[in-house]
């Protein structure tokens, strides 16, 4: 899963407009970003590495994708988010981290652990939508488009900087959202073409 969390971030901006989009993007990808760092430092491994196609990854006793790690990251990001709009902003930013884990639960093929490193050998989870790459990609595109639409609708409701600027402002909002959506879909194309994540 690659593009869908970006769509979640765009949707979250519509809910809590005072939170900067960069923070929402980082929160939505926090789990995967931690995974990249742990993999580069040799703490975590996955198969195959490098992977060869969309949705073919399996993690081994993951630290970054454990539920407890997601909860800890969510608490940290919620604390940062609170600075940008109180409890509601904190809940949204922290919720984005957890939403990524929930999406992973839908996509991954039974490799998500409860505790980091699969301590205690507890059962692992994942409903395996990646086994159906076309369906998984369609779901990702859907989340990106819905997120972009919510972002655009929210941007249009913003007051224009001045009455004279209002017409241009509408165009500007649409242009920026089209650029963003295009980039999001491009990231999915990158993922679909099997580039190493």
């Amino acid at each position: 899963m690659f593009a869908a969390p970006f769509g979640l971030a765009a949707a979250a901006k519509a809910r809590t407009p005072s939170v900067p989009l960069w923070l929402l993007v980082l929160a939505a990808q926090a789990i995967d970003l931690l995974g990249v760092i742990l993999r580069l430092t040799g703490v975590e491994s996955r198969h195959p590495d490098p992977h060869t196609g969309y949705g073919d990854l399996l993690f081994s006793d993951s630290y970054s994708h454990a539920l407890l790690t997601a909860v800890i990251l969510a608490v940290i990001f919620a604390a940062v988010g609170r600075r940008y709009g109180g409890a509601r902003a904190g809940a949204t930013v922290g919720g984005l981290v957890l939403a990524h884990w929930v999406l992973d639960l839908l996509f991954h093929r039974g490799d998500l652990t409860i505790l980091p490193g699969n301590a205690g050998n507890l059962p692992t989870f994942g409903f395996g939508l990646w086994s159906l790459p076309t369906v998984a990609a369609i779901v990702e595109v859907g989340i990106v488009l819905v997120g972009a639409f919510l972002y655009y609708r929210s941007a249009l409701r913003l007051p224009a900087p001045s009455i004279r600027a209002s017409a241009g402002y509408r165009t500007q909002a649409l242009t920026t959202v089209i650029i963003t959506t295009g980039l999001l879909l491009l990231t999915l194309v990158v993922a679909l073409s099997g580039f190493d994540l």
């Binding site: 690659f2 970006f6 971030a9 901006k13 407009p17 005072s18 939170v19 900067p20 989009l21 960069w22 929402l24 993007v25 980082l26 990808q29 995967d32 970003l33 990249v36 600075r83 940008y84 709009g85 902003a89 941007a155 913003l158 007051p159 224009a160 900087p161 402002y169 500007q172 909002a173 920026t176 650029i179 963003t180 980039l183 999001l184 990231t187 990158v190 993922a191 580039f195 190493d196 994540l197």
Partner: protein, 35 residues
């Protein structure tokens, strides 16, 4: 690595979009409006 690059790009783009559009500022942040 692709994820790192894409996230950095989109986070940067997010900062740019926030600046371009008239999103509400968090309380106590940003420039004060002129009277």
């Amino acid at each position: 690595m692709t994820l790192l690059v894409c996230t950095a790009l989109l986070a940067g783009l997010g900062g740019w979009l926030d600046a371009r559009l008239n999103w509400p500022k968090p309380a106590g942040r940003g420039r004060r409006e002129r009277l």
